[in-house]
Structure formats: structure tokens, C-alpha cells
């Protein structure tokens, strides 16, 4: 088994051409997957790549470097459209996990319950994939292909997450539903971003996680919400068909429960985005 900890991106990309590597960033998924057993793959540690640090803005995008931790997201000055991502960040595992784990790693791990995916879907995020051959950008929805499956080629490194400035408009909210207060994998979660214009919803981006192999945008509901009044949110959510979701039964809850809960927390995420005073809820 080999281990490499390059300090230059080119070096890392060069190594990726040579053979298949497991990529190590924050370690919060790497070590649990490793367990007590011996290492069975070559490891490329990207923690020496300073180029992947931090959050910065370009003329068109807000760019989250691949080594950015959840805590760094929480601490960063970002527009209110990112509030849902910050709320999700606070719900990732624990402070210990937030300090080490990275947002990009959360995407690459591609768990159906990845906390970062619903908010980033609702921010129209795309991922930057670099290889020795160049760079490509993929919409997040096209990057995560299924449970633990992504479109990253073996010679590619996810170097950044990019959110179009235009998609960061409006206000946002996030609700995670779990069976205990901290350190919990969600039963279901919802993220919502809403732009209001003249008392009506000009733009809505809504997504739900843990209710399908990959978190989904609710495009039907989004269309229904466009032009609706704030007071109509509940009725719109109640009548939408949620056909994008395909929840399963597991130890955390039944499929029927997930579907019903998804509807409720979607409404709550929208209300939170709009600052609608919702009745305080238990664990959600």
C-alpha cells in the first residue's frame, strides 16, 4: 500500500493518473470505513494542498475549496441564501466532526443521508473536477449518481464546490429530522431557498434528503410555489406529489413515515427560509 501527501495540486493530479487512490481529506468518513482492518488501497492525502483551502468569491461564483471544513462554513460571512448550508453544517455529527470533516468530502462520500447535499442542491451548486487533462464542472445532481456513487473519474480530484452568485439570492432554511438531538443520521431532511418579490414567491429551490438514494430537488413543488403568496406555502406543500422521492424502510423509519415527514419538514424549511414564526417543534 502506498501513501502520498503532495503539496502541489499538479503533483496530486499526476499521481491520480498513475493508479486508483483513495482520497483522504477530513478523515471523518475515511477512518470509520477503514475500521480496525488493514489498509487495502493506496491513499492520497490532500491535506497538504493549500490550494484547496478556504472560501472565496469570483465575479460569477462563490467557491468553497475542497478542504473547507463544516466549521469554516459556519464561520464564513456568506449571503443568507447560504443559511441553509450553515444550518446543515451545525447538524453534521458533532463539533468534533464539523471541525475535521469537509463539505466536499461529504459530497464524494455520497451517502443518501449526506447533510450537505440538500442545501447545495438548492444552491444550484456544481463541483469542480480537475485532472491532469484539465477541468470540468458538473452540476451536483449530475455528480452524485447513487448511493456511494459519484461521477468522479479515478484520475480526477474534486477541487471545489461552486455556487453561482445568482443562485445564492433570497433566504434559506434547513430542517433535519432525527431520533436524537446530536450525532444523528437524519431520517429525513429538507432545504429551501426562496426569493420574494412583491409579496409573492419569485423563485423557490427546495430539496429533500434521506428519502431517495440521492437527495432530490422538488421541481414540481418549486413550479407550484412560483408566483404563490407566502400564505399559500402550506397548501402548496400539502398538494404537491413528491414523486421525486422514493424512500425506503430502514431502522430509522418506514418509507410511509419518511414521505409524510418529508412533506412536513419541507413546509418548515420554507417557513424558516421566510422567517415565518413556526410553532416550536420537537427535534426538528
Amino acid at each position: 500500500m502506498d501513501y502520498a501527501r503532495p503539496t502541489e495540486l499538479e503533483e496530486a493530479l499526476g499521481l491520480l493518473c498513475s493508479r486508483r487512490w483513495t482520497i483522504l481529506a477530513g478523515g471523518t468518513d475515511f477512518y470509520p470505513a477503514l475500521g480496525a482492518g488493514p489498509l487495502k488501497s493506496d491513499v492520497l492525502d490532500i491535506n497538504g494542498l493549500s490550494a484547496l483551502e478556504g472560501i472565496h468569491e469570483t465575479a460569477t461564483h462563490i467557491v468553497i475549496g475542497a478542504r473547507t471544513s463544516w466549521s469554516a462554513v459556519i464561520d464564513a460571512p456568506l449571503p443568507p441564501g447560504f443559511d441553509m448550508l450553515k444550518l446543515a453544517a451545525r447538524e453534521v455529527g458533532s463539533v468534533q466532526i464539523q471541525n475535521a470533516g469537509t463539505v466536499a468530502g461529504n459530497l464524494c462520500n455520497a451517502s443518501p443521508a449526506a447533510d450537505g447535499v440538500p442545501p447545495l442542491l438548492a444552491l444550484d451548486a456544481e463541483v469542480e473536477l480537475r485532472s491532469a487533462e484539465g477541468v470540468r464542472y458538473l452540476p451536483l445532481a449530475a455528480f452524485i449518481l447513487g448511493n456511494r456513487k459519484t461521477a468522479r473519474a479515478p484520475n480526477e480530484l474534486l477541487t471545489a464546490i461552486r455556487v453561482p452568485r445568482a443562485s445564492a439570492r433570497g433566504n434559506s432554511g434547513f430542517v433535519k429530522l432525527g431520533a436524537r438531538r446530536y450525532l444523528v443520521i437524519s431520517i429525513a431532511m429538507a432545504a429551501a431557498r426562496v426569493v420574494i418579490d412583491g409579496g409573492r414567491i419569485a423563485e423557490a429551490a427546495v430539496s429533500v434528503g434521506s428519502c431517495s438514494a440521492v437527495a432530490q430537488r422538488l421541481s414540481g413543488l418549486e413550479a407550484q410555489l412560483k408566483g404563490a403568496r407566502v400564505a399559500d406555502i402550506r397548501s402548496a406543500v400539502a398538494s404537491c406529489d413528491l414523486s421525486e422521492l422514493s424512500p425506503i424502510d430502514d431502522v430509522r423509519g418506514t418509507a410511509a413515515y419518511r414521505l409524510e415527514a418529508a412533506r412536513e419538514i419541507t413546509a418548515r424549511a420554507l417557513e424558516r427560509a421566510l422567517g415565518v414564526a413556526a410553532e416550536r417543534g420537537a427535534m426538528a
Partner: protein, 915 residues
Amino acid sequence: MSAERLSVSFEVNGEPVVAEVSPLQRLSSVLRDGLGLTGTKVGCDAGDCGACSVEVDGAVVCACLVPAAGLSGSRVRTVEGLSNGSLSALQESFLRHGAAQCGICTPGVLVSAAALLEKNPAPSETEVQDALGGVLCRCTGYRKIIDAVMNANRSVASDAAMVEQGRAVGASPIRLDGERKVSGAEVFGADERPADALSVAVVRSPHWHADFEIGDTEAFIAAHPGIVAVFTAADIPGENRFGVIPPFADQPALAGGRARFRGEAVALIAGERAAIEALDMDAFPVSWKALPHALTPDEARRPDFPDLHEGRTGNQLTQGFVESGDPEAALAGAFVSVSGEIETSYVEHAYIEPEAGFAAMEGDTLVIKACTQAPYMDRDDTARVLGLPPERVRIVPLAAGGGFGSKLDISLQPLVGLVTLKTGRPAAMVYTRGDSMRSTTKRHPAAMRASIGADAAGRVTGMVFEGDFNTGAYASWGPTVANRVPVHASGPYRTPNYRATGRAIHTNGPVSGAFRGFGVPQATIMQETLYDRLAEKLGRDRLAFRIDNALVDGDRTTCGQALSGVGIRDCLEALKPHWARAQAEADSANAGDGRLRRGIGVASCWYGCGNTALPNPSKIRVGVTASGAVMLHQGAVDIGQGSNTVVTQICADASGLPLSAFQLVGGDTGVTPDAGKTSASRQTYVTGKAAEKAGRALREKILRFANVSDAAVIGLEDGALVIREGAVRRRVELAEIEAGSDGYAFCAEETYDPPTTALDGKGQGVPYAVYGYGAQLVELEVDTTLGTVRLLRIVAAHDVGRAINPLLVEGQIEGGIAQGIGLALMEEYVPGRTENLHDYLIPTIGDVPPIETILVEVPDPEGPFGAKGLGEHVLIPTAPAILNAIRHAVGVEVTKVPATPSRILAAIRAREAGQ
């Protein structure tokens, strides 16, 4: 890791260090194995428990998730860095508040809290919870941790450590083993390892039920440099079966040819540490032939399913039975009656310390140092398996990082023992979290049904109870559960006509054993939820109904035992003002028709202390040395509950010697007599009583020597006893007294065995000499759109007879409640699916509401200073009180626990559909 080792320079607790590491070695391993800083604990190796929390460059992280390669130039702070010559204010606060019990999570909690306090010296409760949400604690229930952190920077006027001579009982001195728990100095199972020890890996069955053949182990050893030996059932020199109840002992240390549950040990691989760490277990030569399996009692009792053990027909291990009066006639003639069924799940102990320890030869004695709750039982079981006389096995308990019943059974003891016997080298083993969860015991899943009837005046007239308990593949404590449940299933209420049957049924599930309450928590859910329905049918207030039926002095139990010192009525009455307030608050909160509905619930417990109708002795030795130290050979293993402190307090006051003169000698079977196992809430009562007798005997010897009466006061000054009685003052120079064979100038040893009798065919007799009682009130809120529950407050009234140490009593109550919350709302161990601490959920610091404790002290005529046990009692009422409060809030009965959001919402929807 096979990648090349490298040298990293960084700072630990302000000191520069250079460590040779492999690049992906976890920081937790660098600290513990490389630098010897074992204060940082490892509970899961997956970031799920937070026990290994350390600060790296000012950020709290799980050391198990930090690769060594990145440490160069970083600053690391561990628990060892919190004290600077003396304990920090935070550590002092932890001692003062009783915030550390077993101490295994304490380093992680302290490091996380210290980081918070540096940024925020006066945090709110929520801020403390947010900062500590990532550290699991299984003992304390978190409330004392919250108090300790919030009050860390407040000055304290009095020193709680000072206890007046003769007034130790009833005081709350800082626990005698407290300092090493908050400093990181405590030595747990994984914290000691001889340098030349072999590591041992266990090959475990991946199948529920399978025959297997082990292949060419010689070739395997030859192909793996550093692997020294492989051992199988054929290598076991003694009788290859163990079990906590000798007549039922049936579990092989290593299965021979057939595995009966997933996770069962089938072979051992011993080797040099690096070789074992690098070993791919898939390379081990074993072939499996899966057999049909049964995971539930119903499956196991099907006529076509074979018996897992010869002679246990229909896979029934045993049955317990209690009958009195004519229950059928009572139910038929009842004014009202109710019937119901409840199912419970496997519950995992989830102590934060996985099993760990090592074996080594000392002359021709095999010494095993490991975490345990029962050193003498470990000794005898291990000796039997290894074919040694018990005297040639010595068990030295290392600190137990939580036990709750599962560390009563042996786990790694015969395995490391076998390797050491065969190789002559020390052998060490630390279970992974997965191994711990897969291979050790669980709480029995129960399927129960019961009917209870009452007369028009609201008096319970009869009850019938039947429970099937899934006892898994081997006996363990299944017989105890089957026998204890029928004795307790009535609850602490007069039940003149009664029949209760408890059956332990074998399956291919995990072995069910002892877990805080031995089946009584499950049975109490059945009984107490039916009591709510009975009260409702009668139109009676639920609390008043319980008060009317509560046992009082002179009443007979369903076993025909006449009771005295019964405090259940006092407990229930103590809840009355809280009940009225909570009811009013719930009514007012529910006045609107919002989606949040308040509910309140109450439930009781009673619990007999010690073995059920079986001998259960404890022996205590106490001696005064030539230098004036009082050595207490205290074999009641302190697994966090506080027996080290409580037993000493009792002995101090019984002897009249100052508590500060006492030094503890632990439960090492080589030097300390058998104080029995830490289980069945017996240590305060049974070992406490032995300590009381030993203390009195020691006093008697000293007084006789000094020729004074019992009115004399004994003091210790500079290696002398100073005895005063009125004007008489005698000074006894201890060094001048010839020491006895025990090495002491004065020594006493006393045994106590509870006066119980065997039960007859109808379960009649005196199963326990002492019972403890309690009742809890739960206030909660149900979100009717999500099925989620938010606990608002719990008031717990417990009759402990005499609170030997009120702070430790509170700690037990809060910790028991936290486990009751888990049982009620989230804990469901699914074999093969939830073998980690992120799929198996236990309460976090955000899941335990404020708890108000009311100590009720109705002295027991038998207990030391009137004390009763309480360790298990405190868990029992919580789950039924929660279920009763949910029913009160939203009108639904959840008949399978845990009552997850999914199950609660389904019950709400079913009820709506039925209306």
C-alpha cells in the same frame, strides 16, 4: 499501515514531542501507544462517541479520525494537559458535582468543555449542550456534567471533601476514586499492556447459525510473518463451556464446529502487535456451511426448527412462575379489566469502553487484568475453561468503563488466558466497537401480554402476565430474567390474585444477559401502561389510583412475603404536588389545537436487591497497618456507580474511624476476598452490610484491646490509635503490635448473606431480603405531525432507605433515567445492522431533560444503616412513564418500543383512521 514510517514533531500539552509514526496512524494511537498518554480514550474509532476528543490547534476533534502525517508543527492538548500541577477549576467542579462516574468519557468531555470555557467562561445550558453534543456518556445522564461545566468558574465556599468523623454516612464526600478519573490517570482495560505482549485477534462467525471447518492453520501461520499461533476449540485444555449460572453453563469459549450466533468466537490468532494490526482477517482458512436459523422465539419454537441445545426442548431454556390466589376468577369478577400486549427490542449496553485486558504468567499463576464486574466469577469460569484450579487464576480488575450488566459475563478472559498459557507470553486484546456489540450480551427482547382487573372501589383484584424473553444462543442470565420477572411483574402494588410466567427462549440472536433490571424494566412497561388504562376505565386519577394500590408495611407480595420498610406510597405521594402542577401546565398548553400536545405520565418500580432466592454472600476485610492506615479490601467492583466510596463510608461509620484514614485495596482476587458481583443492585446493601459488620468487628477488637466501652472514640495520630472515653485516653502504638498473618495490627473480616428462601413450585417464599422503591413523573410534548417527542422534565422520587451518599444517589437516578429514555424512545439493536454507535442510538447530552430528584428514606430493617439498593430501580419507571405521557398527550398506545417517531406517527394515524 504499511506505508513507510516517518518522524513527526509537534507539541503535546505544551511540550515538544517527536514521534515515529506511520502516516495514517490515528492520533489516538500516536498518543496512547506511541507517547503513553492513555488519558485519551478510544470508544469507537469512528467519531461516534467522542471519548478520544482532543484539541488540535485550538479545535476539538476526535483523535481517532486524525492522521498522524499531518501532525507536524501542530499543538495538541489532551486531558493530561488540563491540570497544571493541581486540578483545574473545571476538573474540581466535576468532582464536586459528581459529573464523572465510570470516567471513560470524562477525558473527552473535559477537553471539549475546557475549549468551550476558554471562549465562553459562563456558558448557558444550550451552549454547553452544543459543545458537548459529540461526547457520549452512558453513566451520568449528563445533567451533572452540564451543572459542572456551567458552574466551573464559580467560587465554592465549602469543601465537600471534608467529612466529620462518624458522619460519613449521609454525607457526599468527593468520590474516593474521583481524582484519577478527572485527571486521566485512571487505568482502564486498554490502558495497560506489557511491552512483550502478543496481540490476539478473534475469528468470529459471520453467520447466525453455521457449521464450520478450520483449514490449514500451519500454512496460514507460515504465510504471515509475525503471526505466532492459531488456537481453536481443540486447544482448550479444560471444559469448553462457561456461564454465569453454573448449572446452565453452555457457552464455549471457542465454538467447536458449530457457531450458534453471528459474532461467536471460533478461533484465535496470536501474533506480534504489528502483524495482528496488519492482518487481513479474510485470509483466515475457515469454511462455513450456513444452517437454518431462528431470530425470534416464535421461529425458534416452530416444530421443524431443531433445538440449539440438547435437552432444551422447543428451545425453551427455562421458565419462571409465580401464582397466588385465583387470578382467572378475579379477572372474571372484576368491575373493570384491561388486557394488552407489548414488545420490546434488543438493547445494547453501549458502555463507552469496549472490553479490554491482558493475561500474563506470574510464576505458575495466570494473571488476567481486564475490565469486569465480577472478578471471582471470572476467575472460576476462566479456570474451568483453561483446566486450572481456581487458585492458579488471579483476576485483577482494571477500571471498568461502564458495565451495566454485560461485564458480568466473561468475554476476553479465557481467550487471552489461553494464549498466555500456550505461548508463555503475555497476551492482550482490545475489542473493537463492532466486536463488542456483536459478541457480548444484550437486554432481552420481550413479547409480553397481560390482563389486570380492579373492583368498583378501584382496588386491583387480579393479574395474569406472560412474557417470552428472547435469550439468544446461550444461557447467560436468561434463567435470572425468567425467574425475576414473575416476582416483579405486579409492580409494587397489592395484587391478591396473580399468575405470572416468564420464559427464556433460545434463538440464534445475540446472547441476552444481564442489563440493569434483568427483565423487570420490560415487564414494568406492560404493567404500568395497563394501570393507566385501568385508571381511565375507572374514571380515577392515574396517580391516586396507584397510591391506593401501593404496597404498605405488612402487605404480602405475590410470593407471599410480608414486607416492612416499604416506601412506594411515600414516593408516589411525594409526586403529588408536581403532578398537580404538571397537569395544570399540560392542560393550559393543550388548550389550543396546535400540533404540539403535552402529556404527563407516572410509573413506579420496586426491585429486590441481590440474587433471586439464592445465596449471595459478600465478604469484607479491613485492617489497620503499623503506620496507621486503614486498609479496606473492597471487592465490590466500582463500575462508576460509587461502591468504592459508599462501602468505605459505611465501614468508616461502623468502625468509628475517620473516612480520611481509609485506603482502598481493589477487587484483586489475589488479595481481596469475594464481595460478589456488581449486579442486582446488591453492593450498597449486601457488601455494605458486610462492611458494616467488618467495621463493627474491627472497632470491637480495638476497644477490647484498649479495654474501653463502645462509647469510646477512636482516633488515628502518627501511627497510633488514640482512644478516648470520658477522661480516659489510651494511646496504642501500632508499630508495637505484632502483626497477624494478614499483616495487620488489627484486622476484621466479615461475611453477609441475605436471608432469603428458595421459592416453591408456585413461586412462594422469600426471594429477596430487601427491596427498593421509586416512582417517576414525566412531562413531555409530542409533535403530532412528525411523531417526535421532546422531554420537558422528569421528577424522580426514590426510596433508598438511607442515602449513604446523596450525590451518588442522584447520579444513579439521573443515569438510570437516561437509559430509560433510550429504552423508551430510541434504542433498538438490530443484529447485523446496528453494530456501531451511529446506527445504534443512545441519548446524547441534548436528550435528557432537567431531572428533579426527591430522596425518600424509609429505613430498611435489614440494610446497612437502613440502606436499600437503587442502581437498577432508577431505570425501571422511566420508559413506562414516558409511554403513559405519550398516551396522555395524543391518545395512542405504542405497543412496540422504542417508540420512534415513525411508530408514534403510525399510531396517531391508525387512531385517526379508526375514529
